[in-house]
Symmetry: D2
Subunit: 323 residues, 4 copies
C-alpha cells in the first residue's frame, strides 16, 4: 500500500577535504534541499560540529520524518559503518563518527566510503539503475571504486573493499600516495594526467598551445586546461587523456576478470572529458579482457549524477539501519 | 562486528483513553526511562501535541540516536502503520497520525494496534521469547488479540487482523460494543466478569461477602474486588472468574484450530487473577481442542511484561522502517 | 537471466479417500500431464506404493528435471512437512510419508494438508493470484481452510493451522465428525446441505420437485440433485443452499476479524452452485463483519482452479525444499 | 523442527580433463560414497553420458532423496548455472549441460565453475567455515579463484567472476594460456613453478640435487620433484617455491584491496608445499597490502579439503535451486 502523505526522507552529507555538502533527499532520489559549509579539514571535532550544524539546517526544512543521516567520506570505514578507521585527508584515525553524530543529533547515522556511496547512488538513481552488477570507477585526483554485486553494495569483510586504485599494475612502478609502488592510481588518475602532461609539455613542441593556455609555464597546466584544450581539438591534450584512458581500460579488464560487472560506470572530475576519455577506455578494455569472444562483456558508460552521486547514495543507504 | 559505543534506542508510546505512557527502550528491551501524561482523549490534535511533548522529553535523555518512535493505540491501524482508521475510545477516524507526528518530530514513526504491539512485546522480551508462533489474548475491559506466526507479526491484508474479541461464539447472543451480537468479548472480558457478577450477586446469597466488600450494593462491585475476594478464597468470586475462563478456553480452542500457535499468552488486567483464571482456561481448552490426542497442543501461559508489553513491543517495531 | 531450454518441473499428487490423482506441473502452473489410480485407502503401505508408481509414470514423461514431488492429503501434517500425524480417512497415524517416498523415489518430497495446498494453488495460479493475503474455504463434504498471509502459506506452530471447519459456532451445537459439538462444519458443509435438505424434504410440500428428482425418497437426495434443482429455479433447493451460505458468511465474518484477508475464495464441490451459494455468503458477511463501515472489507470470490487446486498448489510447494 | 529420519542428500561431480569424480554428500558435507570414471575429454556427448552413468551409480546407493546434482567444471559457466560458455580443456562451447543432464536424469542439476565450487566447499565445510568473506586461490597448473562475500558466492553479472588468474600484473609480460600477456597465472602457477625451475636448473650449479632427482635432465623436472626436494631441505627448490609465493602474495595484496576478504585460503596441488609456499605468500602480502597498519588484514590459510573441495562445494550448491 502506498504511504499517503508520508515522505521517507533522509539526509546525505559528503565530507571532502575543502567543503562539506549536504542534501535532503526523498526516497526516489530527488534532492529536496541542499546546504554546504567550508571543511575544517584537520580538526576532527570541528568537522563533527559542522556536519551536525548542516544536518540541523536541512532537518528544519523537512516536511516529514528524517529516517537517517548518511555521511560519505574518503577513507576506510569499518564493516559496521560507524568508525572511520583511516582518512588521510581528514586527519581521522579510528574516529567513532557515528556515535559522535548520533549523540548530538539523536538520529540514526551511517558512515560510508565516498566511492562506495557514489557507486550506490549511480546504481539506485543513475547510470546503473537498470542493472544488478556494477563497477564504478571515479577518476579524480586519485582513483576510487565502488562495486554493486547482485544488487548489494560490496563492502568486504572489514568494510574496506573496492580500493581498486591500489591494485598493483606495474611491479616496482611509480610511487603511489599510499606508500606502495606501482599502484593503478599513479597511472590512471587525474593527478597522473596533470603530472604526465606537465612533464611532456616541458619537452615537446606539440604542447605549445596548451602551454600558452597555462600562461607559458608547463608547471601551471591543470586538469581543466587539458580538458578544455582537448575539447577544442588539441591533439597533444587529446593524447594525454588517451594515455590515462588506456591505463584505465587495462585496469578495468583486470577488474572485470575478477568482479564480472554488467556495467562499468566512469565518474569523477576527469570523466567530464567524456568520450575523449571513455573511447580509449573502451578500446583497451575490449582488447585486453580475458576470454573476449567467448563471453558477454560489460558495457562501459559515463556516470550520470555528477558530484551528487555520493550524497544521493549515502542518503539512500541511511534509510536501512546498520547491522 | 559489534557496534561499540552505539545504542540502538527507540521510544514506545502507549496511548490509552485516560493516560499516555512512553518509554525510552534499548535494543534488548530494557526500559531506560519513562514518562507519562494525562490523555486528552477526545481532542485528536491535543493527543498529537501531547505525544510529541512526551517524546521530546524522552529524546532529550537519550544517550545515542533514537531510531524511531512507536505508538500503540486501541483501534484499527492501516496496513501501512500510518493511519488510525477507527479508534472508538479516542475519537479518531482516518487519522493520519504518523504523518502528523513525523512532521512535528522529524523522526520515523510507526503506529500499531495496542494488542498487536503487546503480542510483539511478549514475543520479543516476555512470555513467548522462546517460540516462533504465539497468540496473545489480552483480557481487560474487552478482549484483544495479537498473533505472531513464524516470527512475524500477523497484521492482515488491511492491517486489521487479530480482532479475536469479535469472533462470534453465540448466534444472536449478547450485544457487543462493536454493534454485533454474540461476539466473544461480552462473554469472556473483564466487563463481562463485572456485569455477570453484579447480576448474580443481586440474586445469590453466596455473594454476601463480595457484596459486603462493595459496601452493600452489588452494582458497586468492580474487577479488583472480585480478584481480591477470589484470592482470599471466596468461592462465589472464584466461580465468576471460572465462568470467564471457561468462555476464554472455548474461544482459544477455536483460535488454535485456526492459527495453531505453539504458546498462548494470557495478559491484560483480568490475568492478574493468575491461576484462578488460567486454570479454567487450560481445562476447557484441553477438553475442546479439535483433534486433541492426535496432535501437539499449545501451552497456555500468563503474560510476563504486565502493562509495559505494548510500550516495549511498539518501541521494538519502531526500529524497522514501515514498508 | 532466463533459463533457456530448462523447465522447472514438479509433480503434485492429491491423495483422496477413493482416488489418487497426480500431475506433472511446470513452473507457471501449467498441467503438462496427469495420471490417476484407485486409492487403497486403508492400507498405508499400499498407498505409498501407489503414489510411487504414479510418480514414476509421470516422471518418465518429463522433458527436464523433476525438482520435487508434492503430496496433498486430508489430515494433520507436521511442521516439517514430512509426517502425517493424523488422517482419519486414510488410516494414517504418525506416518513418515516423506521418508518412505524419498527412499523409494530418490527425489525430494513434501507433504501438505490438502486445503493448504489448494489455498496455495489458488494464490499462485488461480482466484487469488493478484493479492498477498487470502483465505480459502473449501466446501465439500466437510469445510476445509487454507490461509496465505503476506505471500506466505500459514502453517501454524505445529503445522496444523487453518482447520477452520472446527471453529465452534454454536455452544453445545450439532455433533461434528471430529467429536466436538457445535463446529462450523456441521452447519456449513456439503454434508450439512444434504442432511438439512433430506430432513426438511421429508416434512415439506415445497420439496416435491426435488423429491421427485430423487425418485420419490427424500433420503436419496444428494448434493448434485440439490444443485441441479436450484440451478433450474427450484425455490426449495435455492433456500437450502442459502441456509448453508448464511452459515458460511457468518463464519467468514469471524475469520476475517481474526485473519483479515484481502480476498476470500470459496471452493470445493458445493461452490459449483456459484452465485446461489456465494450471494448469501456475501450478504451475511457484509452484515456481520465487525467494524464494517470503518474498514476495508475482503472481497469474496469463487475459486477458479476446480479440483486441480490442491495438485497444482502442492506441486508448486514441492519446488521449495522443506526446512 | 528436525527432519527425523530424512537425509538431505546431493551428488557432486568434478569434471576434469583426465577423470570425472563424483560423490554422494550429506547436508553437513560428509562424503557418503564416491565413484570415478575416465574423462572422454574431447567428446562432449560422451562426457554427458559418463556423468549420467556415474550419477546413477551413486543414486542407487542413496538412502533417501537426492535433492540435486552439482557439476563442477573448469570454464566459464553462465549466470544461470546451466550453460558452459567456454571450457578450453573440455572442448565445450555454449554447451547446455544442465538441460542435457536434467533430461537424462530427471533430477535438478546445477553447473558451477570448479574454483567457485571449491571456494564454496572450503567456506561451508573447510578452512573458511568460521568466516563470511573468503577468497580462495587454487594454485594448480593455472591459478583459479573463488570468492565468498557476506556468505554468498560471488558469481558476477554474467556468472564469470573470480577469474583472478587473468588479472594483469606485468604490462606486456609473459604470455598466458588465455592469449593475453602479463596475467598473474604465468607468474604464480604450478606451470610457472615448473617452467622457472627447468630454465634455472639448466643454468645453475645449485640445482644439481634436483636435476639428479630428474634423472639428469632438467627438462624432466616436475612439480612433485620440486616439492619433495624442498621438503628435504634443498635450497634451490625452496627458492623456486618462494619465487611463486612472492608473486602470489603480491597478487593477493591487489585482490585484498579490491575484495577485502577476512580469510584467504590457498589450495590446489602446489599448496601441498605447505608453509614453504604460504610463508612467502604471507610475507609479501604483509609488505604490500595498501593501508597496512591502518586496517585489519586478512588471514592467509592453507585449504583443508584437498581435491574434494569442488565436489563437496558443488554438491552443497545443488541443494539450492538455480534462479
Amino acid at each position: 500500500m502506498a504511504t499517503h502523505g508520508t515522505q521517507h526522507l533522509s539526509i546525505g552529507v559528503d565530507v571532502g577535504g575543502t567543503k562539506i555538502a549536504g542534501g535532503l533527499v526523498s526516497e526516489d532520489g530527488t534532492l529536496l534541499g541542499s546546504a554546504r559549509r567550508e571543511s575544517p579539514a584537520t580538526d576532527s571535532s570541528a568537522i563533527v560540529a559542522t556536519i551536525a550544524d548542516l544536518v540541523e539546517e536541512l532537518t528544519a526544512t523537512a516536511e516529514g520524518a528524517v529516517r537517517g543521516i548518511g555521511v560519505a567520506a574518503a577513507g576506510f570505514v569499518d564493516r559496521d559503518r560507524s568508525t572511520v578507521l583511516f582518512a588521510p585527508n581528514l586527519a581521522w584515525r579510528d574516529e567513532p563518527l557515528r556515535a559522535d553524530l548520533e549523540t548530538r543529533l539523536k538520529l540514526p547515522v551511517v558512515i560510508e566510503n565516498d566511492a562506495n556511496a557514489a557507486a550506490w547512488g549511480e546504481f539506485r538513481f543513475g547510470a546503473g539503475a537498470d542493472v544488478d552488477d556494477l563497477l564504478l570507477i571515479t577518476v579524480g585526483t586519485g582513483i576510487g571504486g565502488g562495486v554493486v554485486l547482485d544488487g548489494q553494495l560490496m563492502r568486504g569483510g572489514f568494510g574496506i573493499g573496492a580500493e581498486v586504485g591500489h591494485m598493483r599494475v606495474v611491479p616496482d612502478g611509480r610511487l603511489c600516495g599510499c606508500g606502495n609502488h606501482g599502484c593503478w592510481e599513479p597511472y590512471g588518475s587525474g593527478n597522473a594526467l596533470v603530472k604526465n602532461t606537465r612533464t611532456e609539455a616541458a619537452q615537446s613542441l606539440l604542447a605549445s598551445d596548451l602551454v600558452a593556455r597555462a600562461g607559458g609555464d608547463p608547471d601551471d597546466i591543470d586538469g581543466p586546461m587539458i580538458s578544455a584544450a582537448a575539447a577544442a581539438g588539441d591533439q597533444f591534450a587529446i593524447d594525454q587523456i588517451k594515455e590515462i584512458g588506456t591505463w584505465l581500460g587495462a585496469g578495468i579488464a583486470s577488474l572485470a576478470a575478477i568482479l564480472d560487472p554488467t556495467v562499468v560506470v566512469i565518474g569523477g572530475g576527469v570523466s567530464e572529458a567524456g568520450e575523449l576519455l571513455v573511447g580509449p577506455v573502451r578500446e583497451t578494455f575490449g582488447r585486453l579482457l580475458t576470454g573476449r569472444g567467448h563471453r558477454p562483456t560489460a558495457e562501459i558508460r559515463l556516470a550520470s549524477l555528477g558530484n551528487r552521486a555520493g550524497m544521493l547514495g549515502v542518503a539512500d543507504l541511511a534509510r536501512t539501519p546498520a547491522r
